[in-house]
Amino acid sequence: MSATKWEVVIGLETHTQLKTQSKIFSGSSVAFGASPNVQSSAVDIALPGVLPVLNREAVVCAIKFGLAVGATIAPRSIFARKNYFYPDLPKGYQISQFEIPVVQGGGLAIRVGEVEKYVHLTRAHLEEDAGKSLHEDFQGKTGIDLNRAGTPLLEIVSEPDMRSSAEAVAYAKALHALVQWIGICDGNMQEGSFRCDANVSVRPVGQKEFGTRREIKNLNSFRFMQQAIDFEVQWQINEIEEGRAIQQATVLFNSDTGETRAMRSKEDAHDYRYFPDPDLLPLEITPAWIAEVKASLPELPEAMKARFESDYGLSAYDAATLSASREMANYFEETLTAAGRENAKLCANWVMGEVAGRLNKDGMEISAGHAVPLAPTLLAGIIRRITDNTLSNKMAREVFDALWVGEEKDADAVIAARGLTQVTDSGAIESVIDEVLATNAKSVEEFHAGKDKAFNSLVGQVMKATKGKADPQQVNDLLRKKLAT
């Protein structure tokens, strides 16, 4: 190994499929999973003489995104033709935006662990998707399905601001959450609604110029993204260290082998000959339209995070975690409303801890639209019984588990059914303590000799004797008082 330290530089281009009913330039349905070519209209298959007409809703989605990332919404943007031949591109050109995209600049905050970073966006532009080439054997030929052709996409291009695969994944996840949050994309990565291309290069630490980049195409899961980038980075470093220069290329990631390889199609032939599409006049977005869209936007994650910190006194980490998805945030706020905002921290802990953990264990994801088996009001019921000292944490978890699987109608019912009331009568606890102290003289001795562990052991004995129903804090206090006398 050479001594050179390498810095990784990553920029992402993300194709988000916009949540519209019809295609971007035709009235065909964009529903997923139809038989081949039944959702391919005259416009989609590019019959001679047909013309594109832009879907207003696709523009609304772009405006929403621009507002959500603090970008400039171009008052006038231009659709251009990107010319190349490919069988799944029926017109021989893709309608996209080139010189003047609809969304310019902006950015979003990402977090890797506890570290926060701001990733700048270059632009986001509207374009149409291509169809699908099916390479399975059709008499040794490739089959073309144009149902996807013309599906509206917002291509979101980041600056090369990321310095590790972890940052790239964090950015992709933040973006994935955001586009779902604002309702412009269903986020379904299996169906290709959210696909990333990663531009990856390496350079010696301290070098100003970027290295030559290779573009990894079509990363459709976060795990693959991480694997592909890690492999690619190592490959590039090895190449350079062995004296070979990196050639600019488009590469594909093979998830079976975990490797990237350059595409066989000739990149050098690409000269897209962009020019303004003469069929489409300039797209005008007035301040009034932007204001109208703005009014329809939900509270954005960053604003919500700030509010969680200032209004509920949550830590930055908790606020960020809870505002990672709109569903999670809503669940938290509903719980809080029912439990009382003075219990914010407790609500946060329960949502991030028990609820998230249990969902994860059950293979569910709140952001994927899975309904949480436990209604927020039920969780609030548990929390109220913790704060009024009816339940210890341990008991509360038992109640939680019972309610999660649908046992009983609420926390109080579980408490009653299982006799889970916490003992808070100090007289009763004191008599148990007296008993424990009497039978554990050795521990008492050790405590007085300065061994803290002995104290814990005594607490444990008391808790055991009360079958866990005593309030641990109360046990602590009373025990210390007794031992001090």
Partner: protein, 95 residues
């Protein structure tokens, strides 16, 4: 800016038009005649002139997001060179 044989070949490849060797030579001459003819545009001072992409100075009209198309695959594929199982067939594409 005149075109040599290599340039003609590059453009023909971009345009996906096969040219035989003879055609390529004839094409080179014709294209250079035309390029010579349009070269006079270069002499015009257009500083500060906004390019005009459309014949009319209006902005784009937008369509409501409605599904208006129905399945016409059978009609459309009746005129296709080669189809199978609803798919258009082309020679094997290698990525």
């Amino acid at each position: 800016m005149s075109l040599n044989q290599e340039g003609v070949g590059r453009i023909a490849r971009l345009a996906r038009i096969e040219l035989s060797a003879d055609e390529s030579v004839a094409t080179q001459d014709q294209l250079n005649d035309i390029l010579g003819f349009i070269a006079r545009l270069q002499a015009v001072n257009t500083t500060g002139i906004e390019p005009m992409a459309h014949a009319v100075d209006v902005v784009q009209r937008l369509r409501p997001d409605c599904i208006t198309e129905t399945d016409r695959r059978a009609d459309f594929q009746a005129i296709a060179p080669e189809v199978d199982g609803g798919l258009y067939l082309v020679p094997k594409v290698i990525e």
